[in-house]
């Protein structure tokens, strides 16, 4: 168990390091550095180079990188020049809103997706299956910005049921959560469907029937649990997709979370914010993947055994 865990944590650190470094490189490759952006087009060349000196942008790239990495380890991503505050503080301020949005969307997506997937997968090829498969195909194909705008048009502008944008009370949460949940629901439903369809052909399902169990007991006690194992694995691989979706959805609905902060910061060349936000999202994804593995080892005794013996 222990070497497994050490390997796992090492991999997590490596992934986060990769995200940190990649953001660093991409930001330096973008045209115009922080000094020019910060001072605006009217600044004199002297002002710009003075600020460069102050920000340390004149040092060799490697030195800048190592310096940046060193402070990143302590959680220090520098000060946001727009907020005049520690970048991490600004990002963490916005974090609860993103957590609320993604957790709500995931709960929606998992509940509905599992339900649809089980319904379709228990009778593959039948009408229910074909209808559900068609719906989920469409749900997966719609881009979030489009479904978000459609929901705003319908629910907020035409029916005037819900606010179109902003954060605040729970009514603001409904539309962005649904928008974010749509493609994720489709992913969960499709994986669940194929998993259930496969599991119900397993010999142990026939064994369960041969005991005289009701179809319901066969499904819930024997089929679903075994079907969920691959679903957890594959869904956890899509957590990055979910976070990416959150960035877009927050932007469309002016939801004040890390995602919309990040998009704004990219536009403003607020490097410190971009880096802090990226690292936070990377940590979230990596942690969720770890949780999924832990969950799976709870669900599947064979994985549990593999973890203890290896």
């Amino acid at each position: 168990m222990l070497p497994q865990l050490v390997r796992r944590v090492g991999l997590m650190i490596f992934t986060v390091w990769g995200a940190v470094s990649l953001t660093f490189v991409i930001l330096r490759l973008a045209p115009g550095d922080q000094a020019t952006v910060q001072l605006g087009p009217d600044a004199t060349a002297a002002d710009v180079s003075a600020l460069r000196e102050e920000l340390g942008l004149n040092r060799p790239m490697l030195v800048q990188y190592l310096d940046y990495l060193g402070s990143a380890i302590t959680g220090d991503f520098g000060e946001s020049y727009r907020f005049r505050e520690s970048a991490m503080t600004v990002v963490l301020d916005r974090f609860p809103a993103t957590v609320l949005l993604t957790v709500t969307a995931s709960a929606l997506a998992l509940t509905i997706g599992l339900l649809l997937g089980v319904l379709a997968g228990r009778s593959p090829g039948r009408l229910v299956d074909r209808v559900i498969s068609g719906i989920t195909l469409v749900m997966q194909a719609i881009p979030s910005f489009w479904s978000g705008i459609m929901l705003i048009l319908l629910m907020a502008l035409t029916l005037r049921l819900l606010p179109s944008a902003g954060s605040g009370d729970l009514r603001h949460l409904v539309l962005p959560a649904i928008t974010l949940a749509i493609p994720f629901t489709a992913i969960v439903a499709r994986i669940t469907r194929s998993s259930v369809a496969e599991v119900t052909t397993e010999p142990y399902i026939l064994t369960a029937r041969s005991k005289g169990l009701s179809e319901r007991a066969v499904l819930t006690r024997h089929a679903v649990r075994n079907s969920v194992i691959p679903v957890v694995t594959i869904v956890s691989l899509h957590i990055g997709t979910l976070m990416g979706g959150a960035v877009i959805v927050e932007q469309v609905f002016a939801w004040e979370g890390v995602g919309s902060l990040l998009v704004g910061a990219v536009g403003n060349r607020d490097y410190a914010i971009v880096q802090a936000a990226t690292v936070l999202l990377a940590i979230v994804v990596v942690t969720m993947n770890l949780l999924a593995d832990v969950l799976n080892s709870r669900l599947d005794p064979r994985i549990r055994a593999g973890a203890t013996t290896s």
Partner: protein, 345 residues
């Protein structure tokens, strides 16, 4: 526990024979619906092991599954499966659920896939008892007894184990315990040793025989292995392309086949047919029950086939008392058979 001994008692009185009559199973095939199993009749007599033998695809498993109503939804089943006076093929879903496990149980071929990998052995064995209202701990206790009964050492400690923690032979013992949990009268064992190591096969067969005697069970043993049959079957039903071609007492059938297919089968296995050390492999390939040859389905492979065999379906007839054969020339075989002298085993 639930008037256990009382039930055992009343059962012994009423325990009888499961009679299969004219069982026909129609399934969708590549060219429309086909009678994959066609007019199969036999009895599972109390306290005896009935062997169901035939090549792969001859319809053995389907026949067995039809007895517990577990034929695929796409199929149609006709004929009768008589448990006492009750025709199980006419029984409703709820009644069939009662029959499964409690009257007729199944032991499947491969215990590594027939057991649920994420449920403990104890929970799987005890599940049917939980359905009957036993508490968790009662069911566990009873499951441990059953595991002990089928020869799993240290059973009480192993109820909490998962299938992957058992060896193949132990898994099959657990599967058998699972089948016994509902105290059935009839056990259908579908190739119960095929997936196991040769060394444990005999032990599992011995166990099944012992349980049959101790628990007064009737057993249907499905196998394509004649050696297995010659060791454990009391009665034998030989199937070919979804039909019964020969039926009778196992020793008599194996010593003195009344059907050319049985004869060829016996000759293909050296240890059964002791006379020649070298086996004659069965010529040709098995008939496809979806595309059964006209007349006698065995005629393309039969050394005795004549014109009549290609057009006229041979009926299953009683040739000598208790011995049935579906060959036009069974009487000839009866008269000319000379392999009767040898003893099996």
């Amino acid at each position: 526990m639930m008037s256990g001994s009382q039930r055992e008692e009343s059962r012994r009185v009423s325990a009888g024979t499961l009679r299969v009559r004219d069982l026909t199973i129609v399934l969708p095939g590549p060219r429309g619906m086909a009678d994959v199993v066609d007019g199969v009749s036999f009895d599972m007599v109390e306290g005896r092991t009935t062997g169901l033998i035939g090549e792969s695809g001859s319809g053995k498993s389907l026949t067995a599954m039809a007895l517990v109503g577990l034929i695929p939804d796409t199929g149609v089943v006709r004929g009768q499966v008589l448990l006492g006076d009750e025709d199980l093929l006419k029984a409703g879903r709820a009644r069939m659920r009662q029959v499964r496990g409690a009257e007729i149980s199944v032991v499947f071929q491969d215990p590594s896939t027939a057991l649920n990998p994420t449920m403990t052995i104890g929970d799987q064995v005890g599940e049917i008892l939980r359905e009957r209202g036993l508490s968790r701990s009662q069911a566990r206790e009873r499951a441990a007894d059953l595991l002990d009964h089928v020869g799993i050492p240290d059973a009480a400690a192993r109820v909490g184990a998962y299938p992957h923690e058992f060896s193949g032979g132990m898994r099959q013992r657990a599967m058998i315990a699972l089948a016994l949990a509902g105290q059935p009268r009839f056990i259908l064992a579908d190739e119960p040793t095929t997936a196991l190591d040769v060394t444990v096969q005999a032990r599992i067969l011995d166990l099944l025989g012992r349980l049959r005697d101790e628990d007064h069970l009737s057993m249907l043993l499905v196998s394509h292995d004649l050696r297995v049959m010659s060791h454990v079957a009391d009665d034998l039903v030989v199937m070919y392309a979804g039909r019964v071609c020969e039926r009778g007492g196992a020793k008599a059938v194996l010593n003195r086949p009344l059907h050319p297919y049985t004869d060829a089968l016996v000759r293909s296995v050296p240890s059964v047919h002791v006379e020649s050390a070298i086996a004659d492999p069965l010529p040709g390939s098995p008939a496809n029950p979806f595309d059964r040859p006209a007349g006698c389905p065995f005629h393309p492979r039969c050394p005795l086939a004549e014109d009549r065999c290609r057009t006229e379906v041979p009926a299953l007839r009683e040739i000598v008392p208790g011995r049935f054969s579906a060959c036009h020339f069974a009487e000839l075989a009866e008269r000319t058979s000379d392999s009767g002298a040898e003893e099996l085993r």
